[in-house]
């Protein structure tokens, strides 16, 4: 079975594309059928992914299957559509298909009654297809193609409720910010194509081995990292992710928690041989990752919208993964990506069911006492939060611990401290949310909240189960099976140490305790904390005013410049043309005065001409005469 599926693994992205085409062209008038078709297609993809994963993980580690067909080739440039199936791809396939399947099932409940369900499912299957295409790509060109397609799908899904101005603008903002990242990514691709003549990962890594001068590679690696900065919303280009919460919550769960934002990390993992060859680039990645983690965690503390909190938490966790990549612990990064995908999508879906129950109310301060009304959502949400904070038995603990270990092992003490502090903050803001929203005093809006239908709660339960189990895959109990398969020769191999495990658990528990004190017991009242640290609170709440800075810069540099250039175009370039026309008109106007209607004047002009000729003839000849 595996041998049959493997060579045509391109079926995995193809099935959802077919679903998209069918829905788009024919079925969009029947929402029910299109939803069913889309879920059916993603289910098939999930099964295929399972088969592939089974096959890959049964084969010895490090075996790579590669097939590719001609897509765009001419003498000197060869970009083909191919398949690269190895452990990394298998893991990503599993993660993407599971989360996508569960989210699509969940959406049946969440989107009930929405007129545009058909197009919603069309975009969902298009997204699934392009994400899967990106995962199995075997060269950078093909990856860039799907990279942009994923970007446009996120644009369509964020702007799904295009009736709202905020959704429309958020979608544009998301695409443009991604596009800035893609600009760097494209330049890196161009450099690599010119330097090595190929974009295929295998050939690249071979020719990279022999490559000597590293100085050229530094800008290339950093430019290549621009793509992930844009896509995985790292520090300078993170502004779009919080606004992306305008889209429906299942979309946020799928795209802005589990899959798309993880694409950046996946690219770094896939092209790890490029980055690891350039130590400067590694430090850049580590620093940006660390900073983003800290930066986002601090903002999450002060947010009031349930989805915004989760969005900043995602930002922070992505920073974690990038930091892991930066310090060389590629295995830890990928492992954290996998676990994070599960529990973060769980949290988002939980938030979604809360929002549905609360009839579109997203402010946590207006929620309270939900644990009585929505037991399943509450407990699954708590499991997710525990996993995220890194409490031992759950998956988050193992992956985060791995990263902290990696930080220590690679000697980045500063990053370890940041990592630990972020872990503390994560526990704090997650349990702030839980205590306020679920266990807080009973607010008015919360009465009529009641548990959602099975179609929404079942995926929550499944995801909760996975996020409990997922951690064991790379735990010492299963002798680091995950690390055994996904590792890179250049990366560092952190050996488990008991002290770090205990210390990170203690930090997480401290965060939970602090949240319990402030928000549940109100021993330290949140109000005076806010009052005492007024300045800091305001800065954090306004997201360090970065959005405002970008808006101000944008207005100056882009719109202002555009107006200046338009003015230049109209008045200088067109002005020059109109000036020529005006000059010809004026000369006509002046010359008309020579025609005064007198016969003798005309006679005078004629004879003047004749005399002129004679004089010039005489002048020409006078040397001969005199």
């Amino acid at each position: 079975m595996f041998e049959f599926i493997l060579p045509n693994a391109w079926l995995i992205p193809l099935v959802p594309v077919l679903a998209f085409a069918l829905i788009g062209l024919f079925l969009h008038r029947w929402p029910k059928i299109s939803a069913a078709l889309s879920i059916f297609s993603i289910a098939i993809a999930f099964i295929l992914a399972l088969v592939i994963a089974g096959g890959v993980f049964s084969a010895p580690a490090g075996t790579v299957y590669e097939f590719s067909t001609r897509w765009l080739d001419m003498p000197g440039l060869q970009v083909d559509m191919g398949l690269l199936i190895d452990a990394l791809t298998a893991v990503m396939l599993l993660v993407v298909t599971t989360v996508a399947l569960l989210v699509q099932i969940y959406s049946l409940g969440y989107m009930k009654g929405d007129p545009g369900i058909a197009s919603y499912y069309a975009y969902q299957s298009l997204f699934a297809a392009s994400m899967l295409g990106l995962v199995i790509a075997n060269n950078l060109g093909q990856m860039f193609v799907f990279w942009e397609l994923v970007g446009i799908c996120s644009y369509l899904l964020i702007g799904f409720w295009f009736g709202k101005y905020s959704a429309r603008n958020a979608a544009i903002k998301a695409f443009i910010t991604n596009r800035v990242g893609d600009f760097g990514f494209l330049l890196a691709i161009l450099f690599l194509q010119i330097m090595f003549g190929t974009l295929n990962f295998g050939e690249l890594s071979d020719s990279m081995a022999g490559f000597t001068n590293m100085t050229i590679l530094i800008p290339v690696a950093i430019l290549l990292f621009c793509g992930p900065i844009g896509k995985s919303a790292q520090f300078p280009l993170h502004v779009w992710l919080p606004d992306a919460m305008e889209g429906p919550t299942p979309v946020s769960a799928l795209i802005h928690a589990a899959t798309m934002v993880a694409a950046g990390v996946y690219l770094v993992a896939r092209a790890f041989f490029i980055f690891s060859a350039v130590p400067q680039a590694m430090t850049v990645i580590a620093v940006i990752g660390g900073f983003t983690a800290l930066f986002a965690a601090t903002i999450a503390l002060t947010q009031n919208d349930i989805k915004r909190i989760l969005a900043y938490s995602t930002l922070s966790q992505l920073g974690y993964m990038m930091m892991a990549m930066g310090i060389g612990a590629m295995t830890a990064g990928m492992f954290h990506l996998m676990t994070h995908a599960f529990f973060k999508s769980l949290l988002f879906l939980g938030a979604g069911s809360v929002i549905v129950a609360m009839h579109e109310e997203q402010d946590i301060w207006k929620m309270g006492g939900l644990y009585k009304k929505m037991p399943i959502t509450t407990w699954t949400f708590i499991i997710g939060a525990l996993a995220l904070s890194g409490i031992p038995p759950l998956s988050g603990f193992w992956s985060k611990d791995e990263i902290l270990l990696g930080a220590l092992a690679s000697g980045h003490i500063g990053l370890y401290i940041i990592g630990a502090f972020v872990a503390f903050l994560t526990a704090l803001y997650m349990f702030r949310l839980i205590f306020v929203a679920f266990f807080g005093s009973n607010k008015a809006g919360a009465e009529k909240a009641q548990e959602n239908s099975a179609v929404m709660t079942v995926p929550l339960i499944i995801l909760a189960a996975i996020s409990v189990v997922a951690g064991l895959v790379n735990s010492p109990l299963m002798h680091n099976a995950f690390g055994h398969y996904i590792n890179s020769p250049a990366g560092i191999e952190p050996h488990p140490s008991l002290i770090i495990m205990i210390s990170s658990t203690v930090i997480a528990l401290a965060g939970i305790a602090m949240a319990w004190l402030i928000y549940q017991k109100q021993v330290i009242s949140a109000e005076d904390l806010k009052y005492r640290f007024e300045g800091i609170y305001k800065v954090l709440y306004h997201k360090y005013y970065i959005d405002e800075i970008y808006a101000w810069l944008g207005a100056r540099l882009v719109d202002g410049m555009a107006k200046v250039l338009y003015w230049f175009d109209i008045y200088v370039v067109n002005g020059f043309i109109n000036a020529i026309a005006y000059v010809t008109a004026i000369t006509g106007e002046v010359l008309k005065f020579t025609e005064d209607g007198q016969v003798q004047t005309y006679a005078l002009y004629m004879f003047a001409g004749i005399v002129l000729l004679l004089v010039s003839a005489l002048y020409a000849v006078y040397t001969v005469l005199i």
């Binding site: 008309k592 005065f593 025609e595 005064d596 209607g597 007198q598 003798q600 006679a603 005078l604 004879f607």
Partner: protein, 102 residues
Amino acid sequence: MIGLTHYLLLGTVVFCIGLFGVLSKRNAIAVLMSVELMLNAVNINFVAINKFITPNDVTGQLFSIFVIVVAAAEVAVGLALIISIYRHRKSVDLNDFNLLKW
């Protein structure tokens, strides 16, 4: 000793006087008369050159006759024009006719 040059100079003088008359006189008939003068100047040159350069040939004189013929025709038509304009516009002053004015 009078030579061909003097005749040609005489012709030029008469021609220039005629030209000045054409360009400056107000009365249409005066302009016509000046034109006649210019034509005569040309004839003088014709006959003089015929006498001095090709004495035993009369082509020069032949051409001067043709000039006279043309001059006669031209005066007849010119005066008829002037008269018909006069009858129409009651004036012979060239400055009054500026229909072509911009």
